[in-house]
Amino acid sequence: MKPALSVLIFTVSSGAGYGLLIWLLLFYLFSPDALALALSPDSLRTYFGLYGGIGLVLVTLGLLSSTLHLANPKNAWRAFNRFRTSWLSREGVFALLFYPAFILFAALLWFGVDATGLTATTALVALAIAFATLVCTGMIYASLKPIRQWHNNLTTPIYIGFSLMSGSLLYGMLYQYQFGKLPAPVFNAFITSLIVTLLLKLLYFWHIGKPDGAGKNRTTIGDATGFSQAQVRLMDAGHSSGTFLTKEFVYDAGALRLLILRRCMLVLTFVIPLALIIWGRQVGIPSAVYLAMVFMLGGTLLERWLFFAEARHVVRLYHGDQSN
């Protein structure tokens, strides 16, 4: 699949935004330590203004970027029409619902209305909606049967994992900026989500195999054309230059390059940020967390790029690939 920059930016930016907001809500509900709730109401407002604001900006930027992918954006408002069947529609609906839910929560907190647990209830609702949005985004890809690298049970958890991991690091970075330290709950959230996501991603690479289109249990050109018992070879694609199909689906970065980039991605996203955070915490270097964020941003973008570049749609078989 051809990686579309607008979609890469959308998934990375919105992913980190929702991750940040999910942690904000989770900490509010379950771990007030990480929220510095002991602070005066004034600092609490600044705190929520900063974290919530940045989270919402990232989410919104991502959503706006995703509309750049549309060839006919004037009809984008219709995308909420098929909630019952379409994951893309569901994503749109939840993404939209999140705004009022989160803003209500922030407003309740801002004005200090919390005698009846209303704020906590609103936080819980916003949390559920944010999570649902992430699930829907993952399912848009996981539900596509013609792409075996996407149509599996790991696609969605990995997307959520990346969101929570980059979100927790972003949270830690902002906290570091504001209070000059990294509290234990944030540190633990980051380490846990990083390790879980790393394990899922390694499992994913093992599951999809080498990115060369060869290997066992693959759909072959014979399966695609119906001559499953014979050797089939494309003689003529029927067109002298590209088509929509070849432009959209036939993307070859080269198996060796993809394998190298996989390793780069693992180092950028997991190894370096993990080392920086642990080292920075032990030695006490505040800038380590900012550096970790830069690496993670690059790594996450690369991960999304790979997700597209390694995906081999079955329509490629009709265009001459021997297997996917």
Partner: protein, 239 residues
């Protein structure tokens, strides 16, 4: 009704008349125009609803040597357009409701006024049946010439998709797969017609009639009288 096409891979000669006729009819039809970019330039690219690819399907040689009586290698021309799937994922993934499947005849269509050009339906289609019109920004696909087949202004014989009418070898047959007595249903039974990639579960309606199993025709070679006698004896014994 379950309208669709039966396509004979034995007789298709890969002339692209169906694709050309399709483009000609549909560019001025209800979903038209089907735009081209750089049509007379170096790298022409454009929207087509029907594409023909040519494959070499190898016979069954043993250790590289063809076996007598076994099917020989064949050149197979495979025209592909929308399969009008019964379980059409292109319809369910569509967020706007632009893609829909008609209940009365099973034709999958795109409402050009509602499509936002997100490409998700094309991603969900394993057959490459959908193409985004770059200039118009909306998805185009085969309509089974829905603007021909019901047009009572046309003579009855012409109420068929343009690709079917144009096929010089009658390799494309249009009809109702729900009716067991229709030509397409009978052909499918008779010739063992199959849908492509049924394992994906889309239940494609279109059927491909596989090439007949021909063996290589012996050339009229000159044989010595002794060879002729041996051949005659062999035939006699075989009886």
């Amino acid at each position: 009704m379950k309208l669709g096409l039966a396509i004979d891979l034995d007789t298709c000669v890969g002339c692209h008349a169906c694709a050309t006729a399709c483009k000609q009819w549909n560019t001025s039809g209800t979903i038209g125009p089907l735009t081209d970019q750089d049509p007379y330039g170096r790298d022409p690219i454009g929207t087509w609803l029907n594409r023909i690819r040519t494959y070499e399907v190898a016979g069954t040689p043993v250790a590289g040597i063809p076996v007598e009586g076994a099917p020989v290698s064949k050149t197979v021309h495979m025209p592909m357009s929308c399969m009008q799937c019964e379980e059409a994922d292109c319809v369910t993934v569509c967020p706007t409701g632009a893609s829909y499947k008609r209940e009365e005849d099973g034709i999958v269509l795109v409402d050009q006024d509602k499509c936002m050009g997100c490409n998700l339906c094309a991603w969900a289609c394993p057959y490459g049946a959908r193409e985004l019109d770059e200039e118009q920004g909306v998805m185009k696909k085969c309509t089974l010439c829905v603007d021909r087949i019901y047009d009572e202004a046309l003579p009855e014989a012409e109420r068929q998709p343009a690709c079917v009418l144009s096929c010089p070898t009658s390799s494309r047959v249009f009809g109702d797969f729900d009716d067991p007595n229709s030509t397409v249903s009978k052909l499918t039974v008779e010739r063992g017609g199959q849908g492509l990639m049924p394992e994906l579960g889309y239940k494609p309606v279109n059927r491909y009639l596989p090439p007949r199993q021909h063996t290589a025709e012996a050339m009229d070679v000159q044989r010595s009288p002794m060879q002729k006698l041996a051949q005659w004896t062999n035939k006699l014994i075989q009886r």
